[in-house]
């Protein structure tokens, strides 16, 4: 297989998506399946996991040290990429996708594959909604904002009540864990957890399934290698929505 050192990429351009989210366009592409992620090496800073939002882009929300540093990068700057890693979403014919905040990043390429019938898009405010235009071009988008500045006033989970969930063969979800757990509770009540998939975020160091920092309880499955996409059924009786671990491995509540 050869040495799997990071592939160097140059940033071609950076696009402002929302006040806190930017898309970084690379000068080369990576074959991937939606939901897979790459380990992004920000030289001199750190290496962090990011979903691919297309074969040559990552879409990043400012969250802390590494992402702040990445936001100072512009056209011509270099990054290192390892991957893609992980499993990605299971394909379907009639998918309902549910995205919260930057969670729209791995769902845009899924929608572009023409298998998403409906996409529920949520954010705190209108200006924080990610990929509204791009998603509108390829699927039927329904919007909810916490403050009611666009679409329904409320959470994406509230949008689910207006849908006939039986019409979809799969439900694919990515967003903040509190929102995903709310979706999981809702689908469990309706008895359709087996049709759902969630993209789980855990602290990752190696990205390839050996260090153990991303393992979830009680199965011990590795989010980086056995996931990051897991079935709702598997997540029902798990730490998902309750706690995760930090860089040292200590538990912290969600």
């Amino acid at each position: 297989m050869g040495d799997q050192l990071s592939e160097p990429v140059s940033i071609l351009r950076v696009k402002k998506e929302t006040p806190l989210i930017r898309t970084f366009v690379f000068d080369r592409s990576f074959a991937f399946s939606p939901g897979q992620f790459v380990m992004v090496w920000i030289p001199g800073v750190d290496e962090i996991p990011m979903a691919l939002s297309s074969e040559k882009t990552i879409t990043v929300q400012k969250a802390g040290d590494a992402t702040n540093a990445l936001f100072t990068f512009g056209a011509g700057d270099k990054l290192g990429i390892r991957g893609p890693f992980g499993n990605g979403f299971t394909k379907g014919d009639k998918i309902l996708a549910i995205a919260g905040g930057v969670g729209a990043a791995p769902l845009l390429p899924l929608a572009r594959e023409d298998c998403v019938m409906t996409l529920l898009l949520g954010a705190r405010t209108e200006e924080e909604l990610l990929f509204v235009d791009q998603l509108d071009e390829c699927t039927d988008v329904m919007i909810a904002t916490d403050d009611g500045s666009l679409g329904m006033h409320g959470y994406v989970t509230d949008l689910m009540d207006d849908l006939n969930l039986g019409a979809y063969d799969r439900i694919s979800v990515c967003g903040p864990e509190v929102m995903m757990r709310a979706v999981l509770t809702r689908v469990e009540e309706k008895g359709i957890a087996h049709k759902t998939e969630f993209s789980v975020h855990r602290y990752m160091k190696c990205g390839v399934g050996i260090c153990g920092s991303c393992c979830i309880d009680p199965s011990g499955l590795r989010v980086c290698r056995d996931g990051p996409v897991f079935s709702g059924e598997m997540l029902l009786k798990s730490e998902f929505g309750h706690y995760m671990r930090d860089a040292s491995g200590r538990k912290k509540n969600i």
Binding site: D3, Q4, M39, R82, G207, I210, C211, R245, S248, G249
Partner: protein, 299 residues
């Protein structure tokens, strides 16, 4: 290849389900991950190295997978005493807690948290990329002896894991033996580095790291062979083991069990796969081959 008879074994005071252990720092950060590896066929598991204070570890990149090995500089990330609760559900299972510290008192302190709760300890005196810990102190025989004694005094089986990054590994092995070690584990990773030619800088966040996997198997076999010549306590072979034939080779060099880490990268079912090849009911007893290569030469 010869096959060996299956059955429980006791190595350095620790009862194991078979001769294959999970090496420290691979999938050993959580209790549920360790339980998963036991359920996937490991005869025992060594945990992530636990230290006196929680540590986040080095900035990334921490791991790079190479053609025939793994280069890592995790930097000993660990939850410290929160790990006691983490492995509580595994009481009575063959769990060995790996410990690191900067001096004998720190080793003794960490060990005290786990007394009565685990099958044994493995002292990490060998990690090549953590300032003030691991091989930074594990290359000095008198410190190794003192740290070993500080833990073995508890009466709990204490294994000492050695670094290959020394001129004479037997001097360190003998120091561990004097300190009361129940077994020696050889080897930890080999200090190493790669540079990204595209970026013009080292590929690991910590610049230096440790090499493991098939690339270091020959070094590990040599170290086990040398230790077997000089030490009386059992030796556990570690470094690049990925097949049943590798296990037999380690045994012929003098190991009575092996630890497996990087090979889990290719397949997490590595323990079951090796067991299927290694054991058969009409096989020989391991005693017939352990150390058999000594006193024999190719010419």
């Amino acid at each position: 290849m010869v096959s060996i008879r299956p059955g429980p074994v006791t190595i350095g005071g620790v009862a194991l389900d078979n001769h294959l252990l999970l090496a420290a720092g691979i999938l050993g950060t959580t209790g549920s991950s360790l339980a998963r590896i036991l359920s996937l066929g490991a005869g025992g598991v060594v945990t992530k190295s636990i230290g006196p204070l929680p540590k986040d570890g080095h900035a990334g990149p921490c791991v790079v997978v190479l053609e025939n090995g793994v280069l890592n500089a995790m930097g000993l990330p660990n939850p410290s005493n929160a790990f006691v609760d983490e492995i509580a559900p595994l009481a009575k299972k063959p769990v060995i807690v790996s410990i690191f510290g900067g001096n004998p008192d720190e080793f003794a302190l960490v060990a005290s948290w786990f007394e009565g709760k685990v099958a044994g300890f493995e002292l990490n005196l060998s990690c090549p990329h953590a300032d003030g810990y691991g091989s930074a102190i594990g290359t000095d025989p008198s410190i190794v002896e003192a740290c070993t004694r500080a833990v073995s005094r508890s009466g709990i089986p204490t294994w000492v894991k050695l670094t290959p990054n020394v001129t004479d590994i037997t001097a360190i092995g003998k120091a561990a033996e004097r300190g009361g070690a129940g077994a020696i584990v050889a080897i930890n990773t080999v200090k190493a580095m790669r540079i990204s030619t595209a970026m013009g800088c080292p590929v690991l966040g910590n610049r230096y790291g440790g090499l493991s996997g098939s690339a270091v198997f020959s070094i590990a076999v040599r170290c086990v062979y040398e230790l077997y010549e000089e030490c009386k306590i059992p030796i556990i072979g570690c470094g690049g083991v990925s097949t049943a034939d590798n296990v037999i080779e380690m045994m012929m060099a003098g190991a009575c069990a092996v630890e497996i880490g990087s090979a889990a990268y290719n397949d997490i079912k590595v323990f079951e796969i090796i067991k299927a090849d290694l054991y058969s009911k009409d096989g020989i007893t391991p005693e017939e081959i352990i150390g058999c290569a000594h006193g024999r030469s190719a010419v």
